[in-house]
Symmetry: C3
Subunit: 279 residues, 3 copies
């Protein structure tokens, strides 16, 4: 693999490679799976800046990975390549898609993972990967069970290095596998969503967007028999007290000051949450 210095200065080849590659997987930290992906990236693009977004999303469930990626990519430089692998169908006929959206590039199995990005981004372009188009880059003959190492990592390196454009990888399409979790239901006086993930602190993070509840007068947040006021931040409550807030990623969250709301309420992913007007 030759030097990338020349290509990186070629705006024609790729308008905005930042050299940054983010990784989002359900691989965990116990095994060398993430490490060998990074090895494969460095073998092709020695100057890549590889950032772990998360490797602890729920295994085999693309929805959580897609939720976090769709809320996180804007905090990276434009021209970053976001590789996401939650891939229970690895080695079967499932497709891989490469997406350009908002000046970022995404590579993932076409299994619903990228749906939260695609439905929220402005005019995303989707290309369906044809493996034959990778042959000239020496990417091919993958193992049946680890495409993260054998396809995604080398392809992300080639794109991030500015040597390959998404449009060259396969036909453009408008079809993609939809999200695993429905968007919230909106009624006149309430919005109904679900807990999509529980963070390290035990905060219950929902898929209800701040924008969707703006029209509600004096909104409160309910789950089961519990009702919580919307506050601005955790420290407005005494330790142990519950609250709801719009979190730093723009969605409704149920929290417990200095404690775990998930443990305290016995709730987790999938729990229904309602934001209702009380005016």
């Amino acid at each position: 693999v030759s030097s990338t210095a020349f290509q990186l200065n070629q705006s024609a080849a790729h308008p905005y490679p930042s050299g940054v590659i983010t990784l989002t997987t359900d691989f965990g930290h116990r095994d060398p799976f993430v490490g060998v992906m990074k090895g494969q990236i460095l073998m092709r693009f020695a100057d890549a800046k590889v950032i772990d977004l998360t490797h602890e999303t729920l295994v085999h469930w693309p929805a959580e990975a897609g939720f976090w990626l769709s809320r996180s990519y804007r905090y990276f430089p434009r021209g970053s390549v976001h590789l996401a692998v939650v891939d229970p169908g690895v080695g079967t006929q499932r497709d891989i898609i490469v997406v350009e959206a908002d000046g970022h590039i995404f590579i993932a199995p076409d299994n619903g993972l990228l749906a939260p990005v695609l439905t929220r981004a402005d005019a995303p372009r989707i290309h369906r990967l044809e493996m034959a188009r990778l042959a000239h880059m020496g990417i091919g003959a993958p193992s049946a069970t680890f495409h993260g190492r054998d396809i995604f990592a080398p392809l992300a390196a080639e794109i991030a290095a500015g040597r390959c454009r998404p449009a060259s990888l396969g036909p453009e399409t408008r079809d993609f596998v939809p999200a695993w979790v429905d968007d919230p239901d909106t009624a006149a006086d309430h919005v109904t969503g679900v807990v999509i993930t529980v963070d390290h602190f035990g905060n219950l993070i929902t898929n209800i967007e701040a924008e969707s509840i703006k029209r509600l007068a004096n909104p409160v947040v309910r789950t089961g028999a519990h009702q919580f006021e919307l506050r601005r931040t955790y420290g407005e409550k005494q330790p142990g007290e519950y609250l709801a807030l719009i979190n730093a990623f723009g969605v409704v969250e149920i929290a417990r000051a200095e404690q775990s709301a998930a443990a305290g309420l016995g709730l987790g992913r999938g729990a229904p949450v309602i934001v209702a007007s009380t005016a």
Copy 2:
């Protein structure tokens, strides 16, 4: 954000930027919180070398993060920027301090986290951050719940890139919130401290400094009804046997050869430990 190459060669702007930024938080590895902080750093300082110190300190308890940071920073190049966020008061009126000490720079909430650094360093200089001073760098209007991403990360990037000096960020002060854990009590024939953290191996790590027990004749280490000899290293005991030692960070540790002392003794953070003379 423009290139940093020129500034990095300007010793006048900042005498010793190493380009290294360390991260110490209670954010865990489950969520993309650490990843997006790195994204924000790279957006401002593409050549930053970001090193994770730890993200698994006890949540909402700044003492453990401060303990490890105060014992770890000397193993990084001078001119490194150490960003530490354990921040139950995020979004409230708590202050942020920027500290220069021993040729290193530290940024943290003023909540006691940095007290172990400040009380041990030689002539530290503390500046109390004024948010208005960040406006010209485009840092402002932070979220109410994630200052790690919205203030700490971009500020660390600006300092590490040599574009901003701590003294420019706010008035110098000698006040800071004290440590959450008292320093050990010293008597004629013993020193009394506590277990401050339990490591991955189950070793019980105390806040008792090697220096403080040098004057004790034939010291032994006691916790509850247990008494342990001071040895040099784990392998001097048979697997399963307990021992005490001065660990590689200069403090007294209670260990169990090839097993977990914490599990074996049923002890954890806060357990009182006495080093006593037996001469």
Copy 3:
């Protein structure tokens, strides 16, 4: 420490430094142990590309670290330095070995960790480290309990920077501590191995090489009273069904589609596994 730019271009000093250093330990992610190792690397070699292979191998058991390292290093550039520390004997008389094999360099305690590399690589060269040879590089007087920070990290940096060759570090030897786990037994109609690790997904990964079972007609995989067909990938079975396959690291694995085989079967490290001909 002076600039490394000149040395990196000196093929005479070291034929193939890639600048990549991988880390494999049992240190976990709770404490700053890995972070301070990286600090020590950057102090000597600011441009090092440090990749975590894994830090969650079973504590005090070099076999798992050696298994993964021996199956992973080929996915990194030639000239990479692989530092591995699972070291219950730290601070005792155990030796450290530096190995050149397949264009890669390995540094580890001589406690069996590198045996899986040494027995599989083509013509490895082993050098037994003499601490006195490190003195001129300023490596010496290590702590008794953290050689990862005090010896391994700085030495890896010096080698990766091209300033030090393995042959200069001590006498060549053919002796090394053998592996902790026996290689599989091979009979006419079956091969008997063990589960060597359980991955994040609960897959049971054995030490039985694909090559060793090629001669078996219609092979099936057995453990206890269970028998599994060899398939190509997980998605060929319905969720919840068991299967066996040759995994992406070339060894036999027992899996359960979208679930944990380890939890479902109640098996873990050390479980005996037989691949038998059924022709």
